[in-house]
Symmetry: C2
Subunit: 199 residues, 2 copies
DNA sequence: CAACAAACGGACCGGGTGGTCAACTTGTTA
DNA sequence: TAACAAGTTGACCACCCGGTCCGTTTGTTG
């Protein structure tokens, strides 16, 4: 049990400022965002960053954790939805929208992420699995598509639009629609490769 | 007119060694690949790198140029193919296969690329445009899909699989097939956003 | 308000980067 | 083969990075 006295008031405030500043800075400058710049943006000293997050990777992990939690919340809500096909599409929409506002995809691949991250991530995989299963049972998606497939295709619409300079902010919706059409049972052609087992 | 005496024999050899070593090094280490490592891998001093390529960005531009040229060659050949739908699919396959062997996608976004690159890139856009037009006329792809759409979706299958650790090397084919199904006329749903005009 | 721990800040450090340069080697050419 | 230009090399430079450390400030608590 790690019972410790609560954080000081200024400390909790600075922690929030840091997380927000880091997310913004990463979104703007990619992985090149430096700790010094993040600190400056948050209006704190560089040492304060390392007091809250032992390493840059820890800071990244904290950001990633928050984002996946958001998806989990949305996913679990959509498990209750009436139309399973629409629910899956909306989940993909939520995910794409999150990434549209701030593209932090590179953070997921970079550095060592905490065990906490892998835990909440697997929780999300589970939720998506269920969303897909429900959609498949309702014939909203083709039979040969798996939960893992959807996890992998989740942010493809954003990726696609990332190459367009000055893209209209909703352009990703176009590619989400195209990809989702590829997931439908009508007019589906057999797939040339088996699905991956795990992610 | 920039007429200059031909490169010395060892210089042309070193240039080739450098391009190959750089491509390998970038593919393995991403953008973090250092000029020093590239030089070592090519069996050459660091100074030699900068003699051939004034800056790291110039080296990157040279690599990108070669890759786009490969696609141009394939694309122009496929413009002669009998089945336009199959031709488009094969072009996408070639592009995905190229990126599967060495993922250098990040190079296209990074640094200032030469005017030569933009020239050959626009040439490629043109070829893709024609491939798509032919495929559309033959009802092989849906009417509301444009050449720009296909350019954007070109390497999405690789992106999708890039998140799978130890992915089977042909996994991208699965997602290419799904996306291509989304491009077909059968069972297409109206798209929620107009296509981007340029890339 | 006093006293103490918690939190802060920024100078500092080692390491790695892209790029330069002048001494040296080598291919070419007459 | 002589002579010169073209090419090579690695030590060197200035810069920036993540991370440390300690003197100082500040919130909390009795």
């Amino acid at each position: 049990m790690t019972s410790t006295r609560p954080l000081r008031a200024d400390a909790v405030r600075n922690r929030q400022l840091l997380l927000a500043a880091a997310a913004d800075e990463f979104a703007e400058r990619g992985m090149d965002a430096s700790v010094a710049d993040i600190a400056r943006r948050a209006g704190v000293g560089k040492g304060t960053v390392f007091r809250h997050f032992a390493t840059k990777d820890d800071l990244i992990a904290a950001i990633v954790l928050d984002r996946i939690d958001e998806l989990n919340t949305a996913g679990e809500r959509l498990l209750e939805a009436a139309d399973p096909g629409a629910a899956l599409l909306e989940f993909l929409t939520v995910a794409a929208h999150q990434r549209q506002q701030r593209d932090l995809s590179f953070l997921h691949e970079a550095g060592e992420l905490s065990a906490e991250v892998t835990r909440v991530r697997e929780q999300m995989y589970n939720t998506v699995q269920k969303l897909v299963d429900r959609a498949r049972e309702h014939r909203a998606v083709r039979a040969d598509v798996t939960g893992t497939d959807i996890i992998l295709l989740m942010c493809a619409p954003n990726y696609v639009t990332s190459y367009v300079p000055d893209a209209p902010p909703d352009l990703w919706q176009r590619y989400l629609a195209i990809i989702f059409d590829g997931l439908r049972p009508e007019g589906a052609h057999p797939l040339p490769h088996p699905p991956p087992s795990t992610v």
